[in-house]
């Protein structure tokens, strides 16, 4: 039984009802073309885990291409059988999802497709599955429906689709466990018609989604008393005579609709106010065991709304729903328009960014995915990469921010107070990138990346965040902020491609950075600069010194070389970084002490920074002794564990 309460303390905390401004889900003027709008009725039977749905899609052709069919995503069919493209790829990537029992699988069955015109034309018999990406005939995640008449540019159709779906045990962050339901990618959804034709990819294990903007008007029938969260605003709630409740959710200018229900949710509300940014009502559906963490969730969302709003552009919807998913639901850390899942643990500690990190990241997706509607199938970097970079920038305000590892089955966190995590390296996920820097070409369509989570994340999340941060360090935050805000303002509620961003970089920075994107986007070469040699010899009271720097990696980036002398003199050389090596020689009254390539660490993508410096007064032995002695105590403790068996 859900307990409902409102946080009542704090000047900035208020319920949506007392906010003073009516949040209705309407946006005026329209922000998007609204060419794919959905009116959906759905009923959930929690006992059988069956959703029965009916939708009317009002679709308008906003391209220059006449189209003869409609193409729909049927994502849940990815888990219909083990031969789907999603599950074949998951197997290739070593996924934990394999070998599920039948009751835990998911599927969606279309029961009718009707063209709603002056007369109703039944298209059900003509529907068929297509496999545009890999020709896998066992994959049923894309359905094509031929139209009786072509739809010319500017033309429109209304289509009614009915279906039944079996809710899977949570798979790819959608499904159910116990009485927790998180329902996403759950209705037949049109692909995106572009001038080149339909962009309607099969569901792949390694990628996310892509769809057009529209108006969503959704009526959900669920058991009475179960709290519901959904994209948009609840406009109406009606109790039915059969023990169910129908909730109506409405939102304009979004490209998806997700929802959740569970009798266990606690509801908390708060409000974001930071003029001149528009206020935002925040609603948190939280698990009872995490109730004490509500404030941390709200603070994280406030920081996101503030900083993303100031840096990139304001959040326009006026409301946001934060969902704290159930333990083991595997639904954590996922973004949907005006709603996202965070993710925390029962035991959390101060100094560690759980739950802040995931909350900021998923709230941040309202910008990079929600409002800037890039194609996640093809250009994962534009949402995950951009958002990882942006998240790390917000996380940097949290001090202290220490490393924590979890022990004893992952339940018990232990904080390493000596290890402070950095924005540049740790929050941009350098470790992921360093582990597999060449796993794929970032410019290749994301759905073709090797389908392991580590490989995908190395490219889309880490590499992109690192090259954006490198760009910031090279051209300055002020310029990059103008670039990103221009990109946001120009491409919000549209579907940009990477070259659209690169064009804006050139335009705003007023310099051609094509060479840089050739390195970091169109190539999988790695950066690795280093100091190969450093010498200094006395001669007639002066010192002949030389520093040899080298490019060990294939990728090229201009770097500074800082040479320091014993009398405190410093010389900064500017190396274009093109040649394989370069020698700098000096005839000075003082001997050289050290040389550092890229001393300010502008190039965050350098996969081996240890070799970037060399000194004639090295402390490697000292450091090695210190750390090996610490390790020795660890080893002795380990041996004492084994001595239990003696």
């Amino acid at each position: 039984m859900a307990a409902v309460s409102v946080i009542a303390s704090g000047a900035s905390v208020a319920s949506a009802q007392t906010a003073g401004t009516a949040v209705t889900g309407a946006l005026d003027p329209p922000r998007s073309p609204r060419n794919a709008s959905y009116s959906i009725d759905a009923r959930l039977d929690p006992a059988t885990r069956i959703i029965t749905g009916s939708e009317v899609i009002a679709w308008r052709n906003i391209t220059t291409k006449t189209v003869n069919d409609l193409q729909f995503h049927l994502y849940w069919n990815a888990w219909r059988n083990d031969r789907s493209t999603w599950l074949r790829e998951a197997a290739l990537g070593g996924s934990k999802y394999l070998n599920r029992r039948d009751a835990d699988r998911g599927r969606i069955d279309i029961t009718s497709v009707v063209l709603v015109a002056a007369s109703r034309i039944d298209l059900t018999a003509a529907r068929h599955f297509i496999q545009p990406d890999d020709g896998n005939r066992d994959d049923e995640t894309v359905m094509a429906v031929p139209l009786p008449r072509p739809v010319a540019p500017g033309g429109s159709v209304d289509v009614e689709v009915k279906w039944t779906a079996h809710v899977p045990r949570t798979w790819a962050r959608t499904g159910a466990i116990g009485n927790f339901f998180f329902i996403a990618q759950w209705f037949p959804k049109l692909g995106v018609l572009q001038d080149e034709g339909w962009n309607c990819h099969q569901f792949h294990a390694g990628t996310e989604f892509f769809s057009d903007y529209g108006v969503y008007d959704v009526r959900l029938t669920i058991p009475n008393g179960w709290p519901v969260g959904g994209t948009g605003v609840e406009r109406e709630r009606r109790d039915n005579s059969d023990g169910t409740t129908t909730d109506r959710y409405y939102q304009e200018d979004v490209h998806d609709f997700a929802w959740t229900t569970s009798p266990d949710y606690l509801e908390r509300t708060a409000r974001f106010e930071n003029p001149p940014l528009p206020p935002v009502d925040m609603r948190l559906l939280i698990q009872p065991e995490h109730a004490a963490q509500a404030g941390r969730h709200f603070d994280a969302v406030r920081n996101t709304l503030k900083f993303y709003g100031e840096w990139f552009g304001a959040y326009p919807y006026g409301h946001i729903t934060i969902v704290d998913p159930a333990y083991q639901s595997d639904a954590d850390g996922m973004e949907y328009p005006t709603l996202f899942t965070a993710g925390t643990r029962w035991l959390v500690l101060p100094r560690v960014l759980t739950p802040e990190s995931v909350t900021i990241h998923e709230a941040g997706h309202q910008w990079w995915y929600g409002m800037v509607g890039s194609n996640e199938f093809e250009d994962g970097l534009l949402d995950e990469g951009f958002n990882t970079f942006s998240t790390a920038r917000v996380e940097a305000i949290y001090r202290p921010n220490n490393l924590a590892l979890r022990y004893f089955g992952g339940f018990i966190p232990y904080v390493f107070r000596d290890i402070a995590l950095s924005r540049e390296i740790d929050r941009n996920r350098m470790g992921l990138y360093r582990a597999m820097p060449k796993s794929d070409l970032t410019s290749a369509p994301s759905y073709t990346f090797f389908p392991s989570r580590a490989a995908r994340n190395a490219m889309t999340y880490a590499k992109t965040a690192l090259w954006l941060n490198t760009l910031e360090r090279r051209i300055g935050w002020e310029t990059l902020q103008r670039i990103m805000s221009t990109y946001f303002s120009r491409w919000q509620f549209k579907h940009p491609k990477p070259h659209d961003f690169f064009d804006i970089v050139t335009e705003v920075a007023r310099r051609d950075l094509g060479w840089y994107f050739d390195q970091v986007y169109r190539s999988s070469n790695v950066f690795d600069y280093g100091v190969q040699d450093l010498t200094s010899t006395a001669e007639n009271g002066r010192f002949l010194s030389s520093a040899v720097v080298r490019r060990y990696g294939e990728a090229i980036f201009p770097v500074d070389v800082l040479v320091t002398f014993a009398n405190g003199d410093r010389v900064t050389e500017h190396w274009d970084g093109r040649d394989r090596w370069k020698a700098y020689t000096y005839d000075r009254p003082s001997r050289v002490v050290s040389a550092v390539v890229d001393p300010n660490r502008v190039l965050l993508l350098d996969i081996n920074y240890t070799n970037n410096s060399r000194t004639l007064a090295p402390r490697g032995r000292e450091a090695a002794t210190k750390w090996s002695l610490k390790w020795m105590v660890w080893l002795q403790d380990q041996l004492l564990s084994w001595a239990f068996f003696a």
């Binding site: 466990i177 029962w346 590892l405 004893f408 000596d418 290890i419 360093r434 090996s628 390790w631």
Partner: protein
Amino acid sequence: MNVKKGPYPFFAAWGDGMRRVNRAPAVLLGVWALTVLISLPLTATLRGMLRDHLGESLAADTAASGVNYDWMQEFTSQATGVGATFGPAVLGFGAVVDNLSAFIDNDRKPIVIIAAASAYIGLWIFLAGGIIDRYARDRVTDAHGFFAASGVFFFRFLRLGVLMAVAYGLLFRYLHPWLFNTIYPRLTYDLTVERTAFLIRVALYAVFGFSLAACNILFDYAKVRAVVEDRRSMLGAAAAGARFIWRNRGAAVGLYLVDVALFAIVLALYGLVAPGAGEAGWSMWLALLVGQLYVLGRLWVKLVFWASETALFQGRLAHAGYIAAPQVAWPDSPSAAALGS
């Protein structure tokens, strides 16, 4: 030594055990030296790897004066063998948490660690006879007597080691996976509350821990009886140990629990003073000193387990009077020595 008749309180055995260990500091220092000796070659190997990776880099400056976590990650990303075990967990009390967790969760360890641990266990098996003999006699046995007893019991304890390997092997190879890979997922399959899952895991830890403790206490008393009664059959010693535990179950279990409490106290104390990263130089050596005091504390507790169990057995030696009393000369059993004294 006087053989005590009648019920002998386990608390007295506990205190007696501690006194026996404290009266034989050479044994404690010896096993500490053994622990250091086993760990030094691997430490030297790791030091070489760290030194080679740091080279003449300025990264060593920050690594020497504090923590250079970026370098640490860079190192581990390319490290193999011993180097692959290097990470944040070496810092302070993190090492203890890391090892305890790995032990109870049956985490796999690199082969080089397993090899070192096997050698360490082997040496403990060699020394066990001498150590228990020393505590059973509770008087100086000198090096000759100590190592002679070690030698006498080494092959017997190797045979007992086979039994122990089978028992512990069953626990770690079959019981642990069954509890944590079969039962635990089954019990928590539809759980949506982490706190409940944690409690289930704690309960399974208790089951596993109880099983481990049961084996441990059995084999401890098998060793004690083997030494004190000069037993040659290790199957017989194990059976005799089990009989003793059963007949004195309250005292045996009580003693084991207070010994475990001693172990927990040592961990807690180290948790209070465990050094962090520190700097190279004197603080590095101070950190090492604190670490070695902790290791000594752990070893002391391990020895107190054996000494107090020996004391308890001797204190409750119901059949001492039935043992013949030959001329007291080493290597006669401590029981014989006790009867003659």
